[in-house]
Symmetry: C2
Subunit: 349 residues, 2 copies
């Protein structure tokens, strides 16, 4: 996990809870005008003036959401922030603050938490969000990360899941399936490593999809893109569980149906070749893979000229009447009902 396995490690116990918080958070500065009081009191104080306050929270559990055997702690810290910011951007809002709570077992030395916080700090700096609070405690087993992201938006800019209308276009940012295929590569290499620890994996051909898994980026740029293009989505959600599950969320909340066209789903060539290598259907990966943190939104057809040809945006379908249901229109033109095959963390595998 750490670069130098021989360096001397510092026990968390020697710092105590308050010392640990002070130590880990000293690198964070306040950059947002809306942050009145950050870390160091019972609560943070924020001032959004005429803007609305946007709040989202996520809990990441070792062994369920991440595997430290191939996820470097710095990447994990970065990704944990991305997962949360993605929810704020999915409201078409600006992310402004985060709180980070950690539970760690004694098997983690201070240096491991420093790595984790280095990733959190990097994400906070790049995405311009202030760390304003949190909690640090012990766990009896693994690492637990709980992040709350806070943002702000003008009332007129906020995009809910519930505004999609019949005939609206269904649009996705970026490409899909990369994070899932990156995970397949990492899990295969882990299995190889367990058999022969001297085997050095060559991840170079998979660098795009491995990075999609280990260091995803939330689509902050899409907020600016919408402003620039002067488009206003009618509904939006981030793609954390897979395209299929997210489409069903939009349909349910907006009381509409949907036709998704298989041949329109944007896939990176690396994803397609990895799918061939692993013998997995690439459409299934895009539909159910998850963790891509792209945005899925609907748009009035009248706005199509504004997004036409934009390399960041792909029209993948259109919304229909609710009673028509949500379907995948396959390459051979058959209609297959979409099902929420999103990852079920309660499945007893």
């Amino acid at each position: 996990m750490l670069e130098n396995k021989n360096q001397e490690k510092t026990d968390l116990e020697s710092l105590g809870e308050f010392g640990l918080i002070d130590h880990l958070t000293q690198q964070f500065t306040i950059e947002q005008k809306s942050t009145i009081k950050g870390i160091g009191d019972d609560a943070a104080v924020l001032d959004f003036k005429d803007n609305k306050t946007i709040i989202s929270t996520d809990l990441l559990i070792e062994g369920v959401h991440f595997d430290l055997s191939y996820m470097p702690l710095k990447h994990l810290g970065y990704k944990a922030v991305m997962v949360n910011l993605s929810d704020i951007y999915a409201m078409n809002a600006k992310a402004t603050q985060i709180t980070v709570s950690l539970a760690v077992s004694n098997r983690f030395p201070l240096e491991a938490l420093e790595e984790l916080y280095a990733g959190i700090a990097m994400a906070a700096k790049i995405y311009n969000v202030d760390l304003v609070g949190g909690d640090t405690t012990s766990s009896q087993t693994g690492l637990i990360i709980s992040i709350t992201a806070i943002g702000e938006a003008k009332d007129k800019d906020i995009v809910y899941r519930s505004g999609a209308k019949e005939n609206d276009l269904l649009v996705v940012t970026g490409d899909l399936g990369g994070a899932y295929m990156g995970l397949q590569v990492l899990e295969r290499e882990k299995a190889v490593y367990q058999v022969n620890p001297n085997n050095q994996p060559d991840l170079e051909p998979y660098s795009y999809i491995v990075e999609r898994q280990l260091k995803p980026e939330a689509r902050r740029d899409v907020f600016d893109l919408f402003q620039k293009l002067e488009v206003h989505p009618t509904s939006m959600i981030d793609i954390s569980d897979g395209l299929s599950s997210e489409i069903l969320h939009l349909c349910k909340n907006s009381k509409v149906g949907c036709n998704l066209y298989e041949d329109k789903i944007p896939l990176d060539p690396t994803v397609i070749s990895a799918c061939e290598e692993f013998g997995i259907d690439s459409t299934l990966v895009a539909l159910s893979g998850g963790e891509d943190y792209e945005l899925l939104f609907t748009l009035d057809q009248k706005e199509f000229p504004k997004i036409k040809g934009n390399p960041n945006l792909t029209v993948v379908g259109h919304m229909t009447a609710e009673n028509e249901g949500a379907h995948l229109v396959s390459r051979n033109n058959s209609k297959i009902p979409l099902t929420a095959q999103g990852w079920n963390s309660f499945a007893k595998t």
Copy 2:
């Protein structure tokens, strides 16, 4: 944990993540004007208009912060909310919303989570806060609860840890040490039960302190009391770790010292008798016991007439120059330096 151990249990897996969230949150309604959008989107949307937004977060871990062998799940849900609201009240703010994230292992049936949410719902109703978001996932071992509390306050009303001045009075609400002694009673009864499961404990003589441990109340009333008495504390903190640790936080943040008078520390008669029974020093319990969720604040001496004789408030000392340090003035008039003996969750016990 559940009233009827023989009733049929429902697997979490059969509901899936989204079904579970829907099921558990259907009992919650939106009561706060500031809640524009609660559960059911990527993030919640809140509107605090001219008021400041207050945010606090806490993480509670099974085996570290609670023991389900004597903590009923409904009480746990209630207490988890209290722990967080207490931080908002400690800013002299009004609590308005919460988010609740849970990680549970498969050993919990749906009915157990319903109990937990019944406690959360009761707390939300009594304290008038809206549940506006969260996350529900699996854990490989125990139960993990992460709550973020959100509140609002007028700028002029907010009380930080940093405003205490030399000669200010140090004031505590309610009485101290009850939660810790309640825990001692519960742990003793657990040990007795483990030896002889037929032994029915008589907790009646300890009902006050057991309730302080299992069902603490956050001091929402103090905000109203301050308004009524027209007092404005110069600094404030909630007593979660113990009086000693909290005083040191105020001193450090306000750059002052403190004299705390042992004979002024408010103790309930039940705490005193339990301390005698267990052979524990009651002052030590108040200083280091924690979990009382009372408020500790400082007040300009000129305001003393306004609080004099108020049964909710006890003057326990006064602030001094920073270089005088923070001391307990004992009953025999010796000065003992205060140390942060707050519970260290990283201690390898």
